[in-house]
């Protein structure tokens, strides 16, 4: 009842014009960036961050959350209409969405995607809002071993589920963890890998690594490939809803995908892309019409779309209650909190003022889901026109946003240099077929991992077995070890079939694959 009361207060608060305006702008930006292949919702969130400096905390977080939410949905437009995945998480939709379009059922396919996004978003938001209070209480019992184990689990899961060469993914991850150690150590005040540079003494901000890898690096890759999109906006683009009977017939798909998306979203590091792929694979393996997945059936659209949208709430709530960023986008949202002098975590729900802020943000998730579906339904023909912007012009605008946005954080050119350096590193890694996303996640979660590891060692006198002696920590550690063994198990038993043979598959070496 208390949760309902607080949520109602949140809904009332969201009707304030600043919050509502931020939400609408966020939805539009999220749709625009996710429709453009190679831009991505993380880039949208990153590029919007500087504009939040002069905003209040609430509208800032609402803006970024709305970008995140709508970014998981709008990519399906180009996937279904033009066979061009707007986001990596839309690749599983490609086979069935385009299949339906080829049969003249594009409007129906868009309708299925809309219903799936609405269902996944609303249901997972309901579940996670219900869990916010208990999670917050649980977080109060989280000590250093538990935080380290949770982060460790998140990082190993991302690496294990990525379907890359495991050594390459681990190399990328360790590089990211190493980058996060540069600077002055928090416990001893010792210089590490600064080489006498006052710039490096401030460390390498993970937001700059994000902007560099997903912003500048992605643009370098696109320019280098000379990627052009030849799609012209289709006349008469519309959305046709499935009937209730059609939705009821695949209720198992709806249920399964919603549960998967919400659960996977809670795992730190497992983003919308992983949720989408895993849900698709599970549907293919265990769905009633699993053998027809990929031929143009609704289940192939519904399963990945529900999971990717459902994962958003799964990421936002642990961020608010535990202070744990679960993905690249939530890492940027964490940065926005810190910029406003607020540390998300269990203490956010301990005083009335910040509790209202939290529940307003949670309420905004519901409004975002409904808003993005409405916008998608009504304005799809307008939104699709983003594709007509010449890539050279768009790339220039994105680069300027990335560089000036980086400068705006601390009025420091050194941050801009970091963006350029990591953009170049991401491009080189792409050419060497090394995945970039584990590196970025390592840079984001590295400080938390090190801090909790060090504090555990200090508190328990270097007894590393504490990670296995504390119950919650032990559960995470066992899950982490199992997830590391998962690729081996998968190879041994022929595992889940993550894609149709001879179909276009995911380029794991492009930034943005794992991070959403």
């Amino acid at each position: 009842m208390e949760t309902l009361r607080l949520l109602s207060a949140g809904f009332a608060q969201i009707l304030q014009w600043q919050d509502l305006l931020a939400l609408v702008i966020g939805l539009v930006i999220g749709m625009a960036v996710s429709i453009m292949p190679g831009l991505g919702l993380v880039m949208g969130v990153v590029l919007a961050l500087p504009f939040t400096y002069s905003m209040g905390l609430e509208p800032s977080i609402i803006l970024l959350t709305a970008i995140y939410m709508s970014g998981t949905y709008a990519g399906c437009f180009t996937t279904i209409l033009y066979r061009i995945p707007g986001e990596p998480m839309d690749v599983p939709l490609l086979w069935d969405g385009w299949g339906m379009t080829r049969r003249g059922e594009a409007a129906k396919a868009l309708g299925w995607a809309l219903v799936a996004a609405l269902t996944g978003g609303i249901v997972s938001s309901l579940v996670m809002v219900g869990m916010a209070g208990p999670l917050s209480k649980l977080a109060l019992s989280f000590g250093a071993p538990e935080y380290f184990a949770a982060v460790f689990f998140g990082l190993t899961t991302v690496v294990a589920l990525a379907d890359n060469s495991l050594p390459d993914a681990l190399i990328s991850l360790f590089i990211g963890l190493l980058v996060s150690t540069v600077g002055v150590d928090g416990t001893y005040g010792a210089d590490r890998f600064t080489f006498g540079s006052s710039t490096l003494m401030n460390g390498v901000p993970y937001v700059m690594v994000l902007v560099g890898a997903y912003g500048f690096g992605e643009i370098l890759a696109k320019i280098g490939q000379g990627v052009k999109i030849d799609a012209q906006p289709k006349a008469g683009v519309a959305t046709k809803f499935p009937t209730f009977k059609e939705m009821w017939d695949i209720r198992a798909t709806f249920t399964r995908s919603t549960v998967l998306g919400t659960l996977l979203g809670v795992i730190p590091g497992a983003g919308a892309t992983i949720s989408s792929f895993v849900s698709y694979a599970i549907e293919k393996q265990y769905g009633k019409r699993g053998n027809k997945i990929g031929t143009g059936i609704p289940e192939g659209i519904v399963a990945p779309q529900i999971a990717s949208t459902a994962s958003v709430a799964g990421h936002i709530v642990p961020l608010l209650t535990l202070g744990l960023p679960g993905s690249g986008a939530t890492a940027v949202i964490l940065a926005a909190f810190l910029l406003h002098g607020v540390q998300p975590g269990p203490f956010l729900l301990s005083n009335p003022a910040s509790t209202l802020v939290v529940y307003t943000i949670l309420a905004s998730m519901f409004v975002s889901v409904i808003g993005m579906c409405l916008l998608g339904f009504l304005w799809i023909r307008v939104v699709i026109r983003v594709l007509t912007i010449p890539q050279g012009i768009l790339a220039t605008i994105i680069v300027m946003f990335a560089l000036v946005g980086a400068f705006a954080d601390r009025n420091s050119l050194s941050d801009v240099w970091i963006v350029v350096i990591f953009g170049a590193i991401a491009w080189v890694m792409g050419r060497l077929k090394l995945p970039v996303s584990p590196m970025v996640l390592g840079a984001i979660l590295g400080p938390l991992a090190e801090d909790s590891f060090t504090r555990t060692m200090i508190t328990f006198h270097n007894d590393w077995t504490m990670f296995f002696k504390q119950p919650i920590s032990a559960v995470f550690m066992v899950l982490a070890l199992l997830s590391l063994a998962f690729p081996l198990i998968k190879r041994a038993f022929g595992g889940l079939n993550l894609g149709r043979p001879k179909q276009p598959e995911l380029d794991h070496n492009r930034p943005g694959v794992l991070e959403h």
Binding site: S165, D168, T181, P390, L432, K433, P435, T454
Partner: protein, 188 residues
């Protein structure tokens, strides 16, 4: 597989391994006041570096002795250039490989950052965005000129007036241009 080709495959890992080994020696020289029975600030970096070296060695062994498998080494493409699936004539992405253009963009960016504080944001960005658009394939000079001016003015106004970021104005005489533009845009 020919030996040269194997060596080329492991070359990046060798470079990474050597770099990691060097960083390990740097980590050994991290100065701090040690406390008995307490791990120092060098432990975590050393753990990460050790794991990185192990992963590099493992990757090298895999590349040297296991058959290349396109399904597991991340050699996937979202869409191959101009690919049509099953006779499909759907619009798709068309791409080539132009590393020289990327290097040109990187060089332009480095030059931009080096001269930014001297030339001022307005002038430097005007030229930089022109170069970027040219590298991005825009060839109509009048369009490049107009868009460069528009983009530069947009960023100047947005970030200086709305977001309150003090973008570099440059040194004399370039600062006169910057200040003149700021006066025009009503930025004080």
């Amino acid at each position: 597989m020919p030996l040269l080709r194997r060596m080329k495959r492991i070359a990046p890992y060798v470079v990474l391994l050597l770099g990691t080994a060097w960083l390990y020696t740097v980590a050994n020289n991290i100065r701090f006041i040690s406390i008995p029975d307490q791990i120092g600030p060098d432990v975590w970096p050393k753990i990460v570096l050790t794991l990185l070296m192990v992963a590099c060695v493992f990757a090298m062994i895999r590349k040297l002795f296991l058959k290349e498998d396109a399904g597991t080494d991340g050699h996937h493409q979202i869409l191959a250039p101009g690919e049509a699936v099953d006779g499909d004539d759907a619009p798709s992405l068309h791409g080539e490989d132009h590393p020289s253009i990327v290097l040109a963009v990187l060089v332009a960016t480095v030059i931009y950052l080096l001269v930014l504080e001297k030339g001022g944001f307005f002038l430097c960005t005007l030229f930089y965005t022109s170069v970027l658009m040219w590298c991005g394939g825009v060839r109509r000079l009048w369009l490049i000129g107009c868009l460069s001016l528009g983009i530069t003015l947009f960023f100047t106004y947005t970030f200086m007036k709305i977001v309150f970021v003090a973008l570099p104005t440059g040194i004399e005489p370039f600062s006169q241009v910057s200040l003149g533009v700021m006066r025009l845009l009503g930025i004080h």
